[in-house]
């Protein structure tokens, strides 16, 4: 059989963002996959030279639309650690609430896109319909649907009233009911299983050695989650990572689906324990030194390296996003798969390319 090379992407109906894959095929089976990036690089890290360290919060938030809150939170936690700022307990709980809301809407977005990747359009719409409720909570409490801009160095900018927390809880109740209704479809449907079970399998050893993060890693049976580092209020909240062992696309879907319910539970716990008091402390002085900061984003662990020199501009900011860590998995998962499985496998790592290229 002759060898065929097919360019997949950067513009492809299934891809939410531009990534290019050079697929070498032997008949219908992939023998080699080479990914290429560089279509949406914006040079955001370099902006530290002209934006001061407070303004950078709004820049890092825009690295990624979907995990914006968690980028800002990771950055702020880094700077706070560097400057020795103790954030008030209420701010830490509020950060957990908004970050878990972010995880929920990100996973719901992904579940929809994933259904779309194997052609289940109506399921895609159902998930996005539910996601709309989370976005409404975000807009009602922070002022914006996605880029919530709640983090500041030293705490948060917005507070939740008692009425708002009650509103969140009742909305979450209805989100939970609606998701339960879709559970049999996404997890037990014949079509879904046919397209996902046994596709793109990664063993725990492979996943660990490739340095994968987030649900992609946890679906292979490795229990690793940056929330176990107990940042923000996670030391006061009971948390066990969601783990699956099969390591295929179905397991990754299951992990994310179960994580939505976990997030609901985490938000309930955080609201239940929400202490009263200040939401931010005054920040004096300028950061000096270097620090690394990690938080768990919907796609996995994000890593920030920050170096400052006592001026209002940072010296260096470096962001390692979860997709950057997860793309190497494609090189292992794609060879041996059929051409029709490529969209499903590529989407199963939940690629976020603007994040990766910054």
């Amino acid at each position: 059989m002759t060898r065929t090379i097919i360019p997949f992407g950067p513009q492809h109906p299934v891809l939410p963002e531009p990534i290019h894959l050079m697929l070498t095929l032997d008949d219908e089976v992939i023998t080699e996959a080479v990914p290429a990036f560089g279509f949406v690089h914006r040079g955001l890290e370099k902006l530290v030279e002209i934006r001061d360290f407070h303004q950078m919060i709004y820049v890092v938030e825009r690295i990624c639309g979907i995990c914006s809150m968690l980028h800002a939170m990771c950055y702020c936690q880094g700077i706070e650690e560097m400057m020795g700022i103790e954030t008030p307990p209420r701010a830490r709980f509020l950060r957990v609430i908004w970050s878990e809301l972010h995880r929920m809407h990100s996973h719901l977005l992904w579940l929809g896109l994933f259904a779309d990747s194997f052609g289940f359009e109506s399921l895609f719409m159902q998930f996005w319909k539910i996601r709309e409720k989370i976005l409404d909570i975000d807009e009602a409490t922070t002022g914006n649907r996605i880029i919530v801009s709640v983090n500041v160095i030293g705490g948060v900018r917005k507070d939740l009233t008692l009425e708002q927390t009650r509103g969140i809880l009742s909305e979450l109740k209805s989100v939970e009911t609606e998701l339960k209704r879709l559970e049999t479809t996404i997890l037990n449907d014949y079509t879904v299983q046919n397209r996902t079970v046994g596709k793109g399998v990664l063993t725990a050893k492979q996943a660990y050695e490739l340095g994968l993060v987030g649900p992609t890693l946890r679906a292979s049976g490795v229990m690793q989650d940056a929330r176990m580092l107990k940042y923000a209020a996670f030391d006061d909240i009971a948390f066990t990572p969601v783990v699956e062992t099969d390591g295929d696309c179905y397991a990754r879907c299951k992990v994310r689906f179960r994580e939505v319910f976990q997030s609901i539970d985490l938000i309930r716990q955080a609201i239940g324990k929400l202490p009263n008091g200040e939401i931010a402390v005054k920040v004096k002085g300028r950061p000096d030194g270097e620090v690394t900061s990690r938080v768990e984003q919907p796609r996995g662990e994000v890593f920030y390296y920050i170096r400052a020199n006592g001026t209002k501009h940072l010296e260096r900011l470096r962001v390692r996003t979860p997709t950057f860590a997860n793309v190497p998995a494609l090189l292992t998962m794609l060879p041996g798969a059929g051409l029709s499985d490529v969209p499903v496998i590529v989407l199963s790592i939940d690629p976020c390319i603007s994040c990766t290229e910054r």
Partner: protein, 123 residues
Amino acid sequence: MFTMTSTILRNLLKEPATRRYPASVRPSFEAARGEIRNDIHVCTFCGVCAVKCPSQCITVDRKAADWSYDPSACVQCGVCAEVCTSGSLQQARDYRKPVRKKELVVLKGATTPPKHSDPPVTG
């Protein structure tokens, strides 16, 4: 098999989840971060908003009493309204209407501080 049937039936019986925009518009939430508006008669041209704005889309010229802002570069973060020293800068709930051309919003205040003999300057 038929795992979606109940969802489909429910959707057929319920109202649509979408709105017929722009015929039906949901009112903005109270906290929504919309358009930036400056009451130029109150503004003192201190320039704090211009310094703090992360997208650097505000320019303040103190001498000429000029406050201008580029709505297409604004990211609607609300920082400027939060730090405004005179309270003249406010963030409205509603979003800006779409425009055909990108234009700066230029607001002019009173140029020279009024002298004792002069009538008070307005506008």
